[in-house]
């Protein structure tokens, strides 16, 4: 498909604007002005048709099943979108007088309270713009906490080998050394190794629970005790909170700080890769370090509370992605206390049901109850006999209108496929997915070339990624 630069024709304009009175800005020295701006020139119908055509080349939740493990691709309710576009929210300037934004501040205050209740934490900041930024905020607060106690030798963050890549990247960017902790035979944190690696240098342990294997870490109380005994703090990566809503709260299992992904658990749309939102919650001993401002309440008036003297400072401009806060708030009010618990129940039911359907097709590294997702591997017999790999199976699924699960993650499972159906999929969708997977695995044996050369029906077929990295073409050049 052509790009907007190729579609350009001189003299076209996609919007009607009033005339200007002058030819050029006044009083600005000529050498400070640019000679040209070589952007494309397009009409409104051209632009609309271009982007509608592009949209049709995307898979999306509203198009079909999207079982991308660890991403919680649940349905995004339409009421959220409608509410986010109300002028009373969309057209608020973040620096308007407080008395003109009481509704927005009340919404943020209530969301802070709700997230504190759902995670078992004492105080919440909505400022972080994404999960990774929530992690950064949490780890910087942990650093500030140790420093405030004069505890300056804590230079290490312990992270399980199954963790998301953002965990070690965050710890490292916050100035810590990353110490990897192996998983045990059951897919949990290896307690012997954890004991050996904890010590006076430990600043924190970062954990996702349920883990990226979709397994609930049942030693969590012991892990928390060991971490705290060593003087470290326990960080909760909230990527998988969807599995335990209303069933168990990170704050009650010993975590000191959590981040929550509103774009996963709380249904705000993923937007083709953002915007997300990653609020952080803390226990009282970390509250002085929260980024400001947060929202305070004084009777029926709401106001912004700047960060205190020990605050790590702001991690983003203003108060975070308010548009995402309001979608998440709408979702929480829609489902309420019982509905949110049902979310976890149905997500876990769907995952276990789908695991039941595919467990004889794929190899199952850990025979345990699944939570919201599970990890399976391509059977070695198929790989050895046919040369078909997990990537090929993933690509073949695209031909059936199904987005591939997450593949080759976590790194500790060979030929991994991480499947998260979410609670918003019906039994028919799960049955159909299992049937397609069975068909693809059979094709892998009977016609391996068909699978290895998949996909066949998508807008483009397999792309040359090596070439893209070797000879980067990162922009249009005439």
């Amino acid at each position: 498909m052509t790009n907007i630069f190729e579609e350009s024709r001189p003299g076209r304009l996609g919007v009607q604007l009033p005339p200007t009175r002058t030819e050029a800005p006044a009083g600005i020295p000529k050498e400070a002005l640019r000679a040209e701006l070589p952007w494309p020139e397009l009409s409104e119908p051209q632009v609309v048709r271009h982007f509608v055509r592009l949209s049709r080349m995307n898979h999306a939740i509203d198009v079909g099943f999207y079982p991308l493990g660890s991403c919680t691709m649940k349905y995004n309710p339409k009421i959220n979108e409608e509410m986010a576009r109300l002028a009373g929210f969309a057209w608020l300037h973040p620096l308007q007088p407080e008395e003109t934004v009481q509704g927005a501040l009340q919404l943020m205050w209530e969301l802070e309270q709700d997230l504190a209740e759902l995670t078992g934490m004492d105080q919440v900041s909505l400022q972080p713009a994404a999960g990774a930024q929530g992690e950064q905020t949490g780890i910087l607060m942990i650093k500030a906490y140790h420093q405030s106690r004069g505890d300056l030798e804590r230079t290490e963050v312990l992270i399980p080998d199954a963790a998301h890549g953002t965990n070690p990247a965050t710890a490292s960017l916050a100035g810590f050394e990353v110490v990897e902790v192996k998983s045990d035979q059951r897919g949990g944190v290896d307690l012997t190794e954890l004991r050996a690696k904890l010590g006076p240098k430990t600043a924190a342990v970062m954990l996702t629970n349920p883990s990226t294997l979709g397994i609930f870490e049942d030693n969590i109380v012991e892990i928390a005790r060991l971490t705290h005994e060593a003087g470290g703090l326990l960080y909760y990566d909230g990527a998988n909170l969807n599995a335990i809503l209303g069933k168990c709260r990170p704050g009650d299992t010993g975590f000191d700080v959590v981040h929550v992904n509103l774009h996963k658990t709380f249904s705000t749309p993923h937007g083709g890769g953002g915007p997300g939102s990653g609020p952080v919650g803390v226990k009282a001993h970390l509250a002085p370090f929260l980024p400001g401002p947060t929202v305070g309440r004084d009777g029926d008036r709401f106001h912004l509370v700047p960060g205190g003297p020990q605050s790590i400072g702001q991690v983003r401009s203003f108060y975070g992605n308010f548009g995402m806060h309001l979608r998440a708030y709408t979702y929480i009010r829609s489902l309420g206390r019982d509905g949110l618990t049902e979310v976890a129940e149905d997500a876990v039911l769907n995952a276990n049901y789908l695991l039941h359907l595919v467990k004889d097709l794929m190899s199952v590294p850990y025979e345990r109850l699944a939570k919201h997702e599970f990890v399976v591997g391509l059977p070695r017999a198929i790989k050895d006999r046919t040369g078909v790999r997990t990537l090929d199976v993933a690509k073949r699924l695209l031909d059936f209108g199904i987005h591939s699960p997450t593949v080759y993650f976590p790194l500790i499972v060979e030929e991994a496929m991480m499947i998260e159906p979410t609670e918003t999929e019906s039994k028919e969708t799960l049955d159909a997915f299992a049937a397609v997977l069975a068909q693809v695995l059979e094709e892998a044996v009977t016609d391996p070339e068909l699978v290895k050369t998949a996909p066949h029906t998508t807008p483009v077929r397999r792309l040359d990624e090596a070439r893209a990295a070797r000879q980067p073409i990162l922009r249009y050049r005439p």
């Binding site: 630069f5 996609g14 919007v15 002058t22 006044a26 009083g27 050498e31 002005l33 640019r34 952007w39 632009v47 982007f51 949209s55 080349m57 995307n58 898979h59 999306a60 509203d62 198009v63 509410m83 576009r85 057209w91 300037h93 620096l95 008395e99 003109t100 509704g103 927005a104 713009a129 994404a130 930024q133 950064q136 109380v221 168990c248 915007p275 980024p291 991690v315 983003r316 401009s317 203003f318 108060y319 992605n321 308010f322 548009g323 709408t330 009010r333 949110l340 618990t341 039941h356 345990r368 993933a394 591939s404 397999r462 792309l463 990624e465 893209a468 980067p472 073409i473 990162l474 922009r475």
Partner: protein
């Protein structure tokens, strides 16, 4: 489904939660609401606010009340865009990938630099990430940030710097511009980056070319925080040698939305591409030779490089970058120039009217674009309160962020949305409350 799993109740699926960690009570949250009631409830909250369609605003300070063509919102509502995720499977994500590649092309062109990445959370985090690029590139640990840079941006840079042994020095103001004599003293062989803003937070056109040259003489990288609308007219940072340009993309078709979501822009010269944070899309071909797009240079990123990644960024601001891409495509060079010039004309008009009022003076002699600062004979915060009673949102009172400018210092922005009549009425109202 329960029968297939050979269990009698869903709760059996949670038997792996140890008894001592279970929440054995209902959540302390309100009951759920049917959609009709929910709609009423959330609308009622929205109606407690007084928004920019009800009040006439001259407030900017990094976020602007600009016109958004209807086609932008229409494209954003395409579910194929907003309910998809990061394009991990490029064969079924060409729409998102090509749109990002077009975004990168437009941003790189706007800033006059070689490459742009796929967006960051906002302008402030983009600036902080650019500082980290400069630190990694130079191996130096001191950063000079002009006080004329947006206080929000400076705040985020300070927070990001907590992770590393970085020293941040502020370049003071000399009236309405950065103090070049002080800059000469602050820059050294230890300086990794100089961060400046054009136009400055105070609206002034800074002598950026000279400042970039001074940074380069010491081997430091120059990071320019560049407003995209004003750069319809202003010399692009790449043309005067900036190594990185970053900016807040909110003005490009994104509503103010009480602070977010916005989109951070970042462009750089070619040599820095492998140090850039976040996603980058590249063009390539498929097995049939058909052209297409993929996420590329991923060995920089956290999901491959883990603790050695250039940044921890995973999700960027895909949908907001799309909004900006549609906006830039609709406006083109002529539309953007017109939006910027209309804003500039309005600002010049307002500035002249305010300076004609007794006791009001300009902050300094430097030319301004569509935002400018004045000194009032009364505290700006009080003036704002009285203007609100007349239906206006006044400018940003600068005294809290810039005590050196005094309580009367006041920053005003005019966009293409402000009519001549609104500007005149506002100037009259200011005259009445002084």
């Amino acid at each position: 489904m329960l029968a297939a799993l050979d269990i009698s109740a869903i709760d059996d699926l949670f038997s792996d939660l140890p008894a001592e960690v279970r929440l054995n009570r209902a959540l302390d949250l309100p009951l759920g609401m049917p959609e009709m009631e929910l709609d009423r409830h959330v609308r009622a909250l929205a109606e407690q606010n007084r928004n920019l369609t009800q009040l006439v605003s001259f407030l900017g300070a990094g976020v602007y009340d600009r016109f958004i063509p209807a086609a932008v919102g229409e494209i954003l509502r395409r579910a194929e865009f907003y309910t998809s995720y990061t394009p991990y499977q490029p064969e079924v994500s060409q729409g998102t990938l090509q749109a990002i590649w077009e975004f990168q092309s437009l941003v790189a062109t706007l800033y006059g630099l070689d490459v742009a990445q796929a967006s960051l959370y906002d302008g402030a985090t983009a600036a902080a990430e650019a500082v980290m690029v400069a630190v990694a590139e130079t191996g130096r640990t001191s950063v000079v940030v002009a006080r004329s840079v947006d206080p929000q941006v400076r705040g985020v840079i300070r927070t990001y710097a907590r992770g590393r042994p970085l020293a941040i020095q502020e370049l003071p103001l000399a009236r309405d511009l950065s103090d070049l004599n002080a800059l000469g003293r602050l820059l050294s062989q230890e300086t990794a980056a100089l961060v400046i803003q054009q136009p400055s937070f105070l609206g002034a056109i800074e002598p950026v070319a000279e400042m970039v040259e001074m940074a380069h003489r010491q081997g430091a990288l120059a990071v320019v925080v560049a407003d995209p609308i004003a750069h319809a007219w202003l010399e692009p940072p790449g043309a005067y040698g900036a190594d990185l340009a970053v900016g807040e993309g909110q003005g490009l078709g994104v509503p103010p939305s009480f602070g977010g979501p916005y989109v951070g822009l970042m462009a750089a010269r070619e040599g820095l591409v492998r140090r850039l944070p976040g996603r980058i899309v590249g063009a390539t071909v498929d097995v049939d030779g058909k052209s297409g797009f993929v996420l590329t240079l991923q060995t920089r990123e956290q999901h491959i490089r883990r603790q050695r990644a250039t940044s921890n960024i995973c999700t960027n601001q895909g949908l907001i970058a799309l909004a900006a891409t549609v906006y830039m495509s609709l406006l083109g060079p002529e539309g953007l120039r017109r939006v910027a010039l209309l804003s500039h004309e309005g600002a010049q008009d307002l500035k002249a009217r305010l300076l004609a009022l007794p006791g009001v003076s300009a902050l300094g002699p430097a030319p301004t674009f569509y935002e400018f600062a004045v000194n009032l004979p009364r505290p700006a915060a009080l003036v704002n309160q009285e203007l609100l009673a007349k239906g206006f949102i006044g400018g940003r009172a600068l005294g809290d962020d810039y005590p050196e400018l005094g309580p009367g210092s006041w920053l005003l922005a005019v966009t293409e949305k402000r009519s001549a009549a609104e500007i005149a009425a506002f100037a009259d109202a200011v005259g009445a409350v002084l």
